[in-house]
């Protein structure tokens, strides 16, 4: 798969460049750079012979090939104008690299856990009864799943203050979130903010839900109203696709930055 040429830039670094000719005259490629300082390779993106930089001025580096390819594909999808609001993975990488709000892991974890107190899935209405029923049928299974998976108590509530989350639950989640690295946490916090729910986010990350399902559950009341009063494409569909895109980008970002995979070949013995 590595059709390219080896380019020695300096005694310390060597670059393998994958060049792809695109239909437009923009050459897009990703390059793997090994440096003696870092343990593995980082991936850079070259646009038209210039290296991609973050808004903060740093060199854009992705920790693995899959993420770099996905970001390069986002850039490739741009035509006459750059529409940054469609380049979600790029934005996430830039945020992780620049850290413009200069937060550390603990601050991000605290911000994420704040959403637990008003988690969408726990915040129930009392009327109309059809919506109450819908919330019970759709949200209770997810709540049960996460309570079993993490051995915590969350519960739902229809009071205006939301459910009372015990400290032990928060500690469990805090510990779990702490096991993710900074990049993955950036993605996690992003998804939590988009879906307004920690429960649904963990559902996607643990692969219990698909992105479409989680978005549907997050927008349950809106979907109920749409079914009742009708769909308005330029608002409802627009919001839904935007939420799906952002959530999918965040989820993919978390998965790509938190896993490493190896291929083990087993010899078939007959």
């Amino acid at each position: 798969m590595l059709k390219g040429f080896l380019r020695l830039q300096s005694p310390l670094r060597s670059t393998l460049s994958l060049r792809k000719v695109s239909p437009r005259n923009q050459h897009l490629g990703i390059a793997l750079r090994y440096s003696t300082a870092t343990a593995g390779g980082v991936f850079e993106i070259n646009l038209d012979r210039r290296k991609l930089k973050t808004p903060g001025g740093k060199l854009f580096t992705a920790p693995n090939e899959a993420l770099a390819i996905a970001v390069a594909t986002e850039w490739d999808a741009q035509r006459d104008t750059l529409k940054f609001y469609t380049m979600h993975l790029t934005t996430l990488c830039n945020t992780a690299l620049d850290n413009p709000t200069e937060r550390n892991k603990d601050q991000m974890i605290n911000a994420s856990l704040k959403f637990l107190e008003t988690d969408t899935v726990c915040y129930r209405v009392e009327e109309p009864p059809a919506l109450v029923e819908l919330q019970k049928n759709e949200w209770d299974p997810v709540l049960h799943w996460i309570e079993n998976r993490y051995n915590v108590n969350i519960g739902s509530s229809s009071s205006i203050l939301g459910p009372d989350i015990p400290e032990a639950t928060k500690d469990t989640f805090r510990q779990h979130l702490n096991s993710y690295n900074f990049w993955s946490l950036t993605g996690l916090e992003y998804v939590i903010t988009q879906l307004k729910s920690v429960v649904l986010t963990m559902g996607i990350i643990d692969r219990h839900l698909s992105v479409e399902q989680a978005v549907l559950l997050s927008r349950l009341e809106e979907e109920y109203q749409i079914r009742r009063w009708g769909n308005v494409e330029w608002a409802h569909d627009y919001d839904m696709y935007e939420l799906r895109a952002r959530t999918a980008a965040g989820a993919l970002f978390v998965h790509l930055t938190s896993e490493s995979s190896t291929v083990k070949r087993k010899l078939l013995q007959d």
Partner: protein, 110 residues
């Protein structure tokens, strides 16, 4: 609860999206080769329930969702929100008026 569509459909879906992005030469793109590579690697597994395979399937489904929803979002954006502002001539034309023309140009215009 994770009833995802079959890997074949996901793969075809991603190919369609990549073709929409990159045009007829999408097979030469980095994304295409990487995705195909991943699908091939995860196709054969010795386990009956292979976690890596399930994870790869979910990730592929997520990527398909990302590509499809960004494309649809952009389409809707251009359809409903992409027109921008009207020029002064058009605004005047809305109520049936025309802007006055001043042969020497207005005082402050260059």
């Amino acid at each position: 609860m994770a009833a995802l569509s079959s890997p074949l459909r996901v793969c075809r879906g991603i190919m369609k999206e990549l073709r929409a992005i990159q045009g007829p030469s999408y097979k030469k793109s980095l994304a295409y080769s990487y995705v195909m590579d991943q699908f091939r690697k995860n196709k054969v597994t010795g386990e009956r329930y292979c976690r890596a395979q399930q994870e790869a399937h979910h990730d592929a489904h997520t990527y398909l969702c990302l590509l499809a929803s960004t494309r649809n979002h952009l389409i809707l954006h251009n359809l409903y929100h992409g027109k921008g502002e009207r020029s002064p001539e058009e605004v005047a034309g809305l109520v049936g008026l025309r802007l006055p023309t001043q042969p020497g140009g207005k005082g402050w215009e260059k």
